[in-house]
């Protein structure tokens, strides 16, 4: 517990380090806003169309696959910590766990859903 109290103390320091530079700059810097400075910067051209363009859903497919493997890696973490003390069959079970997901990865790959269209 005391360890995490220290982490809490350190978070306070980290936030100070995050806030201090912009705050200092705010005190030091000139403030002369005008309406042209605040215009959207898109290579000097005037912006056109809505800002919130649609993105390719392909980006999203990778994110979905990411979530699955993210959970899988997190599930394996306790196993990895216990690894040195496990019998062989327990290791093989974890490998089986991985292999089931590898099937999924291979299937998704073969179907071409991981390929940019």
């Amino acid at each position: 517990m005391s360890q995490y109290a220290l982490i809490g103390l350190y978070f306070v320091i980290a936030i100070i380090f995050g806030v201090a530079p912009p705050l200092l700059a705010w005190l030091l810097s000139p403030k002369k806003p005008n309406r042209y400075k605040g215009e959207v910067y898109e290579s000097g051209l005037k912006t056109f169309g809505p800002t919130w363009i649609r993105f390719k859903p392909q980006y999203y497919l990778f994110a979905l696959a990411f979530l699955v493997f993210d959970v899988e890696a997190a599930l394996l973490l306790p196993w990895a910590v216990a690894y040195l003390w496990l019998p062989l069959y327990a290791v093989i079970e974890a490998i089986l766990f991985l292999l089931i997901l590898v099937i999924g990865l291979v299937y998704v790959w073969r179907k071409g859903w991981l390929t940019w269209m």
Partner: protein
Amino acid sequence: MVTVQQVVFALFALMTVGGAVGVVAARKLFHAALWMILSFFGVAGLYILLEAPFFAALQLFIYIGGVAVLIVMAIMVTRGIMGPKEPVFTYAVGAAGTAFAFLVMLALFIVNVPAWMGSAPTGEVAPDGMRQLGRALVMPSAFLLPFEVASVLLLAVLVGALFIAREKE
């Protein structure tokens, strides 16, 4: 006498519930997602207070680093970004209010269960708890079956989600 732990608990509880209220009340979906992250963060802090740091890190890793990222990206992909300002209080308010009242009553009941009143935990946390957990996950006598089933579930999610979301030509 208010102890340090209670103050910290109050802080994280405020973060958690405040974030949750923000999810309900925020007008822009993106803001709702940010409130949700605050709420997740508060829950992670509570896990630390409950001496389960591994689960606090898991909370950050899976909920904030995984689920919340996906939700924010979904908001950005669909029009919800700046979308129409949705009215927060709709006809569901009655139903939800009833459920809310019921749960608050349940919570008040919970407070009065004598077995749960004791303020001190019944024992210490095992120092090598994570190793025991890792062992239990692959032991046939413990949680091997759910562990492997989780893998099958993840396989189904991987294939299913990508199948649903892919661009059909």
